[in-house]
């Protein structure tokens, strides 16, 4: 009987694809963002507003959904190039899916490529897509207790956006719980509380985005 020592990470295949995605983005001078949240936290609405408010930044969007092209259709109306990825059942995007559609994007024309992951606060965080930053949304109707309940998503987030603050009072959202929990789960990232409806806090998010372009 033969015994072979392997010691390879199970996600090493995904990592190869992720490294290739990163290289393609870097070669084209594009910053990649992996946008994650539970379903309905406002990812697509955030993108619509962000693209409309920042016409000088050239955005491209890869829309991940289980089914339908509804989100890509919404992004298309903003004028930004978008591609829809349907996983047809799978609960997260993997780097090879992104790698496969990248040639369809005119990357030379872009500053920032945003990949909207499948709405799911658990699985997407386990798969690197080769992006430069991870952005995680938490909407106020979900409740302030989600950081500790789904720590993996928030633990490695480079930006945390608390969305829908315009209805925070109506849904009894307590920001203090989020701030408290983040001290232990992700002390390096200060959350940005914002609403694309009232406009509260959006400047903080835009400032963060523009900070990426300077580098």
């Amino acid at each position: 009987m033969a015994e072979i020592v392997v010691m390879r990470a199970v996600t090493s295949d995904n990592k190869l694809h992720a490294d290739n995605v990163r290289k393609i983005l870097d070669d084209n001078g594009v910053i990649g963002l992996n946008l994650m949240s539970s379903p309905g936290a406002g990812k697509t609405t955030l993108l619509e507003k962000t693209i409309a408010d920042n016409p000088d930044i050239k955005f491209g969007v890869i829309e991940g959904d289980v089914y339908t092209a509804r989100d890509a259709d919404r992004i298309e109306k903003t004028g930004a190039p978008s591609i829809q990825l349907n996983t047809e059942g799978a609960c997260h995007l993997t780097a090879n899916m992104v790698e496969a559609v990248l040639p369809k994007m005119n990357l030379k024309e872009l500053d920032i490529l945003i990949i909207e992951n499948i709405g799911n606060l658990i699985c997407p965080s386990a798969f690197s897509l080769g992006t430069h930053k991870r952005v995680v949304l938490l909407s106020t109707p979900e409740g302030g207790d989600k950081v500790l309940k789904y720590p993996a998503a928030f633990h490695r987030a480079d930006a945390i956006l608390v969305t829908k603050t315009d209805i925070a009072d109506a849904v009894g959202f307590d920001m203090n719980i989020v701030l408290d929990d983040l001290k232990s789960v992700n002390p390096k990232t200060e959350p940005i509380a914002m609403s694309v409806v009232s406009g509260e806090g959006v400047d903080g998010w835009y400032k963060w985005l523009r900070g990426l372009l300077k580098k």
């Binding site: 072979i4 295949d13 997260h92």
Partner: protein, 134 residues
């Protein structure tokens, strides 16, 4: 249920490594799963129980899971900690400066299997044993 996708990757990786080493039938796939990896071992085992059948080489393989407990170190006071979740507060100095050092990963540690000669040898042998007339 990202465990399904992870199990597909684990099997793909194991088959690749086995073929590279000339193994034609895997008996054991030994993996380590960190307690802080966010992976459900039950779900991996469940997915493995039927995904292994997609390829002859892994059809009879047994999955052996070694759990790796979460560990961290406080960068403020230097204390070594055991961690049962992704939680970065040091219980000693009460600062959120714990670095996770172990327990996040999911590895294929090693494989055990048989090459073509061994398998042929074994089947001849077992044929002999199995024959009531001999």
């Amino acid at each position: 249920m990202h465990e399904f996708a992870l199990t597909e990757d684990l099997l793909k990786l194991s088959r690749e490594e086995a073929r590279k080493a000339g193994i034609v039938r895997l008996d054991k796939i030994i993996v380590s799963i960190g307690d802080l990896s966010g992976i459900s071992i039950d779900s991996i085992e469940f997915a493995f129980s039927f995904l292994r059948e997609e390829d002859e080489i892994t059809k009879e393989a047994e999955l052996v899971v070694k759990r790796v407990p979460g560990r961290g170190r406080c960068t403020s006071c230097g204390k070594e900690l055991e961690l049962d979740r992704l939680y970065l507060y040091c219980p000693d100095c009460n600062t959120p400066t714990v670095e996770i050092t172990e327990g996040r990963d999911f590895y294929v540690v090693s494989l055990e299997g048989q090459d073509a000669d061994e398998l042929a040898g074994k089947s001849t042998e077992s044929d002999g044993e199995g024959s009531p007339e001999s």
